[in-house]
Amino acid sequence: MDTLIRRRLLLLAPLAVAAGAGGAATALLVRMQEGRYDPHALPSMLVGKKVPAFDLPGQPPSAGFSAADITAQGQPGLVNFFASWCVPCAQEAPALAALQRGGVRIWGIAYKDAPEATTRFLDRYGDPYVRVARDAAGTVGIDFGLYGVPESFLVDPTGVVRWRWTGGLSADLVRQDLLPRLRSLS
C-alpha cells in the first residue's frame, strides 16, 4: 500500500477511537435519560433469592411478623425499612400511602428506632403498613444487606425478592418501575 495512504489511515485511528467513545457515551446518556441506566444504582445480592428468615416483635399496637407472614396469603408484598430519624422516609410517605390505597401490602420495619419516636412518626406521616415490626438492633437490616433507610424490597408470592430500591420512593418511580413489576407478579 502507498505509504501516504497508510499514514492517512493510521492517523485516522485517533478520530475513530474518539468517535467510538463518543458513541458509547451518547448511548449511555440516552439510557440514563430513559431511566434504563443509573450509575448510582446499587445492585442487591438479595434480588432473585429468598427473603432472609426473621421474626421480629411488633411496634404496638401492631403485631410483629416473620418472613413467612409476608407471603402467607399468596400475594406479593413490599418490605419497607424506615426510621423516624430519616428525612427521605417522611418524604416517601405520600407514595407509600398511594400504594396502600391501591391495595399493595406494605410491611414496615422500623430500623434502629425508639418505639415512642416510631409512634410519633406514624401519627404524623400516616401508617400505610399491614404491620409494623421493630428491628431495634439492626440485625435483620444486615441480613437484608441494607444500604440505608428508607429501603424497599419487593417480595413475590413465593417469597423471592424481585426488586430492591434504596432511598425514598416517589410517585414517578412507583408508576414507572414498581407498578409494572407488581402487575407482572399478580
Binding site: 492517523l11 485517533p14 463518543g22 458509547a24 446518556l29 435519560q33 441506566y37 450509575p39 444504582a41
Partner: protein, 656 residues
C-alpha cells in the same frame, strides 16, 4: 442588581468569545493583518467581561443574595466569609463558570505575552481558544446559568456540603482546573500548527512553557485532592482509583508524556505528529474528564452535581472540539514531514520509551475507569473495577518507567553509548541496591522493599547528570561548585522533578507498611497499635461556628515516653443533618499518627487508629515535582518571548 450585572457580563463574554473564534481565524486564513491584530484585544475583552461576571457572583455570595439559586443551595449567612467565596465554585454552575474564566485567562495570557509569536500563529491560537470558550460559555449561559434566580428568595441558604467545608478542598478546584484548562494552550498551538501545516523547533519551544505551567498546576491539584481525601475522608488512604481521581490522573500522564516529547520537537524536530496528537489528546482527556464527571456518567463518591439533561449539550461540545481537532489531525498530520533521525539508544529513544510507558499506563487506567459503564452498556452487567486491577496493571508498567527515568537524562542526543551512560550511574545503582537489601531485610515486605529501591534510584539517579556535568570529585571542589552554579535551570528542574517522584514513591512504599486498627475503648483504657500505646483520656463537647462537635482526647506514648496528644472529633452539622469526622493527625515528617473518632455507645467509643509511615512524603514529593517544573520554567531559554526575537528577525527578512 449585582446578579443581573453578572448575567449581562456573561452574555457579553459569549459575544466577545464568538468574535474571538471567528475573526482571527478568518484573518489568518486571508492573511488580513487587521483581523489578526484584533485577536489579543478580543481575548482580553472576553477575559475582562468574564472576570466581571465572576466578581458579581462572588459579590452576590458575600452579600448573601439567596435569590440566586446556586447561592441559596450551597451557601448560608452563618458560613464564614472564606467559604462564601469558595462556595461559588462548590456547585455545578459556578464551577463551570470558573472553568470558563480560567480558559479566558489562558486566552488573555497568550494575548498579553504572545507578542513575539508570528502574528498568524498567534491569531490562530487565540481563535482556537476563543472557539472553545464560546462553546462552554454558551453552555453556561443557556443550560447551566450560575445567575439563575428563585422567587420568592428563601430566608436562609441550605449551606455547603460539610465535607467540602475545608480549606484544602476549597482551594482545590481553582488549582486543578487551572491545570486541566492550561492544556488548552498546547491544544490550541497544536490545532494552529495543523491549520498552518508547519511544525518546527520554534513551535516546540513555544508549546513547552505552557505545557510545563499547566503540568505544575495539575500536579499540585492532584496532590491537594489526594491529601484532602487522606485527612478529610478519614479512611486512612490517599488514592482510591475513584473515577474522579482517575479523570485527573489521565491528563497528567499524557501531559507528562507531552512535556517530554515537546523536548524532542524542540531539540531535534522529531516526533512532531506524535506531539501534536498528545497535545490534542491531553486536552481532550481534561475536557471529557471534567464533563463526564459533571454529567454523572461515571459513578463516584465525589460527584455532587449530576444532571443528564445537560449531558447532551456537553457531548455535542466535546464532539465539536475533540472530533473537530482529530479530524483536522487526520487530514493535515500525514503531510507533516518527519525529520531528525536517531538511534534507539539515545536521549530521543529514552524519551520515546517514556512516552510509550506513560501512554500505556494512561491506557490501562482509562480502560479500568471506562469499563464499568461500558460493561453495563454492552453486557448489561453491573460491576466495578477496584484497586487490585489498577495495582496489577500499573505497577508492571511503572517499574520499567522508573528504571529508565534515571537513565534518560544521562544519554546524549542522537546516538548514545549505553555503557558510558551506565558508568555515570553506577554509584546510584549501588546505593539503590543497598537500600533495597536493607529494606528487604528490615521489613520483609516485597512491595515496600522494591518501592524504596526505586525511590533511592530515582532520587540519586536524578542528580547523576548534574554530578557528571560538574565533574564532582574528579576536579577540585571549588571548580565543581563554580560549574554547578553555571548549570542551566532546566537541568536543575529536570533533576528536582525526577527526584520529587522518587520522594513520592518512598512515601507510597512507606504507606505499604502502615498499620491500623479499629478499637472500642472506654475512657482511661489503653490500646497498642503500630508500636505505640494510645490512651483515651476523655470526651468533651467542642462547638464550632456552624456545627456541634464531640471531641476525644488521646494520649500517645511509646515505651512510656509521651509522643503526642490527638483530638479527633465528630462535627454534627444541624443545617444538613450530617455528621462529619474530623481526623486528627500528628506528624513528625517520617510517620503520621492518625486517629478517627467513630460511634459512641454506652460509654464505649469506637476509634480507628493508624500509624502511617512516610505518609507526608507522598505530597511532599508532588510539591518537589511541581517546584522542579517551576525551576525549568524559570530557565531563560524557556522564558516566554525569549526564543522569538530571532524568529521575528527571520520573519522581517522573509517579508521583505
Amino acid at each position: 442588581m449585582t446578579p443581573e450585572l453578572g448575567h449581562f457580563a456573561l452574555a457579553l463574554a459569549v459575544a466577545l468569545a464568538g468574535a474571538q473564534a471567528v475573526l482571527p481565524l478568518w484573518g489568518a486564513q486571508r492573511r488580513d493583518p487587521r483581523l489578526m491584530a484584533a485577536a489579543p484585544a478580543l481575548a482580553l475583552g472576553q477575559l475582562i467581561a468574564l472576570a466581571t461576571a465572576y466578581g458579581c457572583l462572588i459579590a452576590s455570595a458575600v452579600a448573601d443574595d439567596f435569590s440566586v439559586l446556586g447561592i441559596a443551595q450551597y451557601s448560608s449567612s452563618i458560613e464564614p466569609l472564606f467559604y462564601k467565596v469558595t462556595g461559588t465554585w462548590g456547585n455545578h454552575e459556578g464551577s463551570i463558570l470558573l472553568w470558563c474564566l480560567i480558559l479566558a485567562i489562558c486566552g488573555g495570557v497568550v494575548g498579553l505575552f504572545g507578542r513575539n509569536l508570528p502574528s498568524a500563529l498567534r491569531a490562530r491560537v487565540i481563535g482556537v481558544l476563543g472557539f472553545t470558550s464560546a462553546g462552554f460559555l454558551l453552555f453556561a449561559l443557556t443550560v447551566s446559568n450560575p445567575f439563575a434566580r428563585i422567587w420568592p428568595p428563601p430566608v436562609e441558604g441550605q449551606n455547603i456540603n460539610p465535607l467540602l467545608q475545608d480549606p484544602g478542598l476549597a482551594i482545590h478546584p481553582p488549582i486543578l482546573y487551572a491545570g486541566y484548562v492550561g492544556f488548552a494552550i498546547p491544544f490550541a498551538f497544536a490545532v494552529a500548527a495543523l491549520l498552518e501545516g508547519r511544525v518546527d523547533a520554534a513551535w516546540g519551544r513555544w508549546v513547552r512553557p505552557w505545557t510545563l505551567a499547566s503540568w505544575c498546576l495539575l500536579t499540585g491539584g492532584i496532590a491537594l485532592g489526594s491529601w484532602w481525601a487522606y485527612y478529610e475522608l478519614g479512611w486512612g488512604g490517599y488514592w482510591f482509583w475513584d473515577p474522579v481521581e482517575n479523570a485527573s490522573l489521565l491528563p497528567w500522564l499524557t501531559g507528562t508524556a507531552l512535556l517530554h516529547s515537546a523536548i524532542v520537537v524542540e531539540k531535534r524536530e522529531a516526533l512532531k505528529i506524535w506531539t501534536i496528537l498528545l497535545a490534542i489528546g491531553t486536552f481532550s482527556l481534561s475536557l471529557s474528564g471534567t464533563f463526564m464527571v459533571r454529567s454523572g456518567l461515571l459513578n463516584s463518591v465525589h460527584s455532587f452535581a449530576t444532571d443528564p439533561t445537560r449531558g447532551v449539550f456537553i457531548l455535542v461540545l466535546l464532539a465539536l472540539v475533540i472530533g473537530g481537532s482529530l479530524l483536522l489531525f487526520a487530514l493535515r498530520a500525514p503531510v507533516l514531514a518527519p525529520a531528525g533521525l536517531f538511534a534507539p539508544v539515545s536521549r530521543e529513544g529514552a524519551l520515546v520509551l517514556n512516552n510509550i510507558l506513560l501512554c500505556s499506563i494512561a491506557a490501562v487506567v482509562l480502560t479500568g475507569t471506562a469499563y464499568p459503564p461500558m460493561a453495563e452498556l454492552v453486557f448489561g452487567a453491573k460491576l466495578s473495577v477496584g484497586p487490585p486491577y489498577f495495582h496489577d496493571t500499573v505497577l508492571p508498567l511503572a517499574a520499567p518507567l522508573f528504571a529508565a527515568m534515571s537513565l534518560g537524562p544521562v544519554l546524549p542526543w542522537k546516538r548514545a553509548d549505553l555503557g558510558a551512560a551506565l558508568m555515570k550511574l553506577w554509584w546510584a545503582a549501588l546505593a539503590a541496591a543497598l537500600v533495597g537489601i536493607a529494606a528487604g531485610v528490615g521489613v520483609h515486605q516485597a512491595f515496600a522493599a522494591l518501592g524504596f529501591t526505586a525511590a533511592a534510584w530515582l532520587i540519586l539517579g536524578a542528580f547523576a547528570e548534574l554530578v557528571s556535568r560538574v565533574r564532582l570529585l574528579r576536579q577540585p571542589w571549588r571548580a565543581s561548585r563554580a560549574r554547578l552554579g553555571a548549570q542551566p535551570l532546566a537541568v536543575w528542574g529536570a533533576a528536582v522533578a525526577h527526584a520529587g517522584l522518587g520522594v513520592t514513591i518512598a512515601g507510597i512504599a512507606g504507606m505499604a507498611l502502615a498499620s491500623s486498627a479499629v478499637v472500642a475503648v472506654k475512657p482511661g483504657q489503653t490500646v497498642a497499635v503500630g508500636g505505640y500505646d494510645w490512651t483515651l483520656l476523655g470526651l468533651h463537647d467542642a462547638p464550632g461556628p456552624n456545627y456541634a462537635s464531640r471531641e476525644a482526647d488521646l494520649r500517645v506514648t511509646r515505651n512510656g515516653e509521651p509522643v503526642a496528644l490527638l483530638h479527633p472529633s465528630r462535627h454534627n452539622f444541624a443545617a444538613q443533618r450530617q455528621t462529619v469526622s474530623d481526623t486528627s493527625i500528628v506528624t513528625n515528617g517520617l510517620r503520621d499518627l492518625y486517629a478517627v473518632l467513630g460511634d459512641q455507645r454506652d460509654g464505649t467509643v469506637v476509634l480507628r487508629l493508624h500509624v502511617n509511615l512516610l505518609a507526608p512524603w507522598i505530597w511532599l514529593g508532588a510539591l518537589v515535582m511541581a517546584i522542579g517544573g517551576l525551576l525549568s520554567l524559570a530557565d531563560r531559554r524557556l522564558r516566554v518571548g525569549a526564543p522569538s526575537r530571532r524568529q521575528r528577525a527571520a520573519e522581517a527578512v522573509a517579508a521583505e
